[in-house]
Subunit: 444 residues, 2 copies
């Protein structure tokens, strides 16, 4: 593994003098297994997402595990404004400034990736090496969008857990929390019932004169709670995280439910909820609830969600184990505007990348994208779960969770996960076969 920094263009879509500024974009290469340019051996490129690249290097396994088989070069590129790829000094400086933050968006990031890949292929004289881009979650969206926008740079994409349809009104807004609910209900009906009933119990306690301090004590908060809404929001989030990452071997939803269901007899609802909470939050002397629900304007993802990645997740009436909390676009826009001074553009993603009527649009356009999902992942509700054509393929597992297929394989992986990865490898092999045949026939 070698680390490099590419001199990246700040603004690909403008020609003002400021647009020409550059910043150092980090990328990492592992050429151990590469078959080389002469063999036109493939290049696998991992798209960094909303985390420092180093974090992802430690977690993602798909590239390194399959590089020997494909004789593939491994490239990992960090997303602008994360990790060490900050255009303007420190993260706080870059994120704290109205006029620098604006360059932080997905279209610019995709153009970054295109530039780096083109540069590398040229440097390596690897003109004919097919490129497969890989990403998970937001990075998965980027991977699929990249194949759609830059087919001349990438031959195909593995888009893991990419909710590209969770924009605008394409996916029902309450789909996410409906899946969370389903996950819990499937694991334990009584656990689901306890959670469903807990909200009114919390409201009942909170409405007492000293209710918030009772809750604070019961949930061992580091600082006293000052409202019950945010408190409930944290619990919602804990259940969502458990569902989203409900992965083997630990299966957090089962862990939460075991604690909720398994509390000694006579434990009240709140006691059970707290026990379940600890299963995810860990065993701490106190729990910093305020930190859990404070959003920082300096956080990259908060900005992305508040500018273009408006994912309208809300909770509907009566169909979940949660209290209704519908997504309110107007309110959302207001809160973003007060945080950043500018309004989100909630229709931009579907304007630039599409999403509406995706099967009608893409069944005869584009090729070579794997949309992989685990159906226990609430984000799978905004994913592509149906084949769009012979080469735009949905690969999903009923028991899978968020991005599971691209994470490092372990000995405890269940058979269905091993099989999913095999299916993905098989598909990519097919792309290469076709590609090399085309290359051969066109050069003769």
């Amino acid at each position: 593994m070698e680390t490099f920094f590419y001199n990246q263009t700040l603004d690909h879509f403008n020609y003002r003098p400021e647009s020409y500024a550059t910043f150092k974009q980090k990328y990492v290469i592992n050429s151990k297994y590469w078959g080389g340019a002469k063999e036109s051996a493939p290049i696998f490129v991992y798209f960094g997402d909303e985390q420092p690249l180093d974090v992802q290097l430690g977690a993602v396994g798909f590239l390194s595990e399959n590089a020997p088989h494909f004789k593939a070069l491994q490239v990992y590129i960090e997303h602008r404004f994360y990790g060490q790829s900050i255009p303007f000094g420190t993260t706080d400086e870059a994120m704290g400034n109205d006029s620098t933050r604006g360059y932080f968006n997905s279209a610019q990031a995709l153009a970054d990736y295109a530039e780096v890949i083109i540069y590398l292929k040229k440097k390596l004289s690897a003109d004919n090496s097919p490129v497969i881009v890989v990403g998970g979650s937001y990075g998965g969206m980027l991977a699929s969008w990249f194949r759609l926008k830059y087919p001349h740079v990438a031959l195909g994409a593995l888009a893991s857990s990419a909710p590209i349809l969770y924009f605008d009104d394409i996916t029902p807004r309450d789909a996410y929390y409906s899946v969370v609910t389903k996950d819990f209900k499937e694991v334990s009906k009584s656990c689901y019932e306890t959670i469903r009933k807990s909200w009114s119990e919390i409201d009942r306690v909170a409405s007492k004169p000293n209710g918030l301090s009772i809750l604070s004590k019961k949930f061992r908060t580091c600082a006293p709670l000052d409202n019950s809404g945010d408190f409930k929001g944290v619990l919602e989030l804990i259940y969502a995280i458990a569902a989203q990452y409900d992965s083997p071997p630990s299966y957090p939803v089962s862990q939460v439910c075991e604690r909720i269901d398994g509390a000694y007899e006579g434990t009240g609802i709140l006691g059970r909820i707290f026990a379940g909470f600890v299963a995810v939050a860990g065993n701490l002397t106190c729990y910093p609830f305020k930190e859990y629900y404070t959003t920082s304007k300096l956080n990259g993802w908060t900005w992305q969600v508040c500018s273009e990645l408006v994912i309208p997740v809300g909770i509907g009436v009566n169909d979940t184990m949660f209290q209704p909390d519908p997504f309110n676009l107007k309110q959302f826009i207001e809160s973003c505007r007060s945080l950043y001074g500018v309004s989100p553009r909630p229709h931009w993603i579907s304007t630039y990348f599409g999403g509406h009527d995706i099967k009608l649009v893409l069944r005869r356009f584009a090729s070579n994208i794997i949309f992989s999902n685990g159906l226990r992942d609430p984000y799978s509700s905004g994913g592509v779960l149906e084949n769009l054509s012979d080469t735009l393929l949905a690969v999903h597992t009923v028991k899978g969770s968020h991005c599971l297929d691209i994470l490092t394989a372990t000995k405890t992986d269940p058979q269905w996960l091993i099989d999913q990865r095999k299916v993905e490898v098989k598909i990519i092999e097919g792309w290469f076969e076709t590609y090399y045949a085309d290359l051969h026939s066109l050069s003769h």
Copy 2:
């Protein structure tokens, strides 16, 4: 025909406060023949290019002539920074300012078009109406690129005389002037020879002590020439224009050659060249040569060519009727930098839109683009002249010139031009047939 102005976003790819400024973008609608939203009747959208929309409304016929047959709505959209669609006051204000000019580029223009079309379809409740985008020359590039980047907005594109391969090193740099030469040679060998010999004759005369004033008198220049290089450049341009627009019924190349060949016996080379020049430049009391070769930094196209649309047209050694004048990228960059203060990005078009190995890339990606060309048009050398797949089709005529197929039909149109247009209509009919069948099968 009704004229409207859309409140267009200044910067689609940035979220700085300034990016949110808007400007009025002109578009024109003709709904006379539209079958309506209920019938999902089609929408034809003409993409304005580097001229005011009104100029093009008077010249383009493809939409209005085919609207009755297709029951199509006609929409014509002006390109940002041209005509009445200027973001910052007057053209001179917008073009004279470093920090406003930068927003003037093709990626922003395509996003403009996407926004207008999405807005209109919504306003007309015409969700299912298929959109065909049409453009010629630069507008043809935009049309083909739009289908590639926004397949969810346009079902197909008619890209007339779009030299999308005349970027980077995809097409040989001297291809343009080789076609100009071929056009003249085919029309008249002696005319070609006269032009070929004229350059050294001009050099010989110009090198005399009073040579420039001899040339000035001979070519009736409004002001005395101050160098022979620019003078020769104007003649080159005149031949290029004649070839590019060598259209029926006038056929300017033939007109030039008739004058050159038909001058009374004993007319010298320069006399013949002047006679040919007048055939294109018209009969004036004097010719403003300086104006012909002065480029204004306030001219929109000059900016576009100097920022991203770097089309490296040069003249090779020995294979044309011109003196060698190879394209010098370094010099070009320098001259643009001195004009505008920023450097062109000569690789951006192929980075963002592709072009290299186009058949390998697109034979299994994308669909529904007609690349139409006339082979007498020197820009056809940078066009797509070969089918890339069953639905990415090259339609060309041997005798055709620049954008001829989309211009208003006339009674004098030759049969091959009538046939070309019929072929294009037939192809578009096929797209609609498939589309409506898909729409039907997916909604059941």
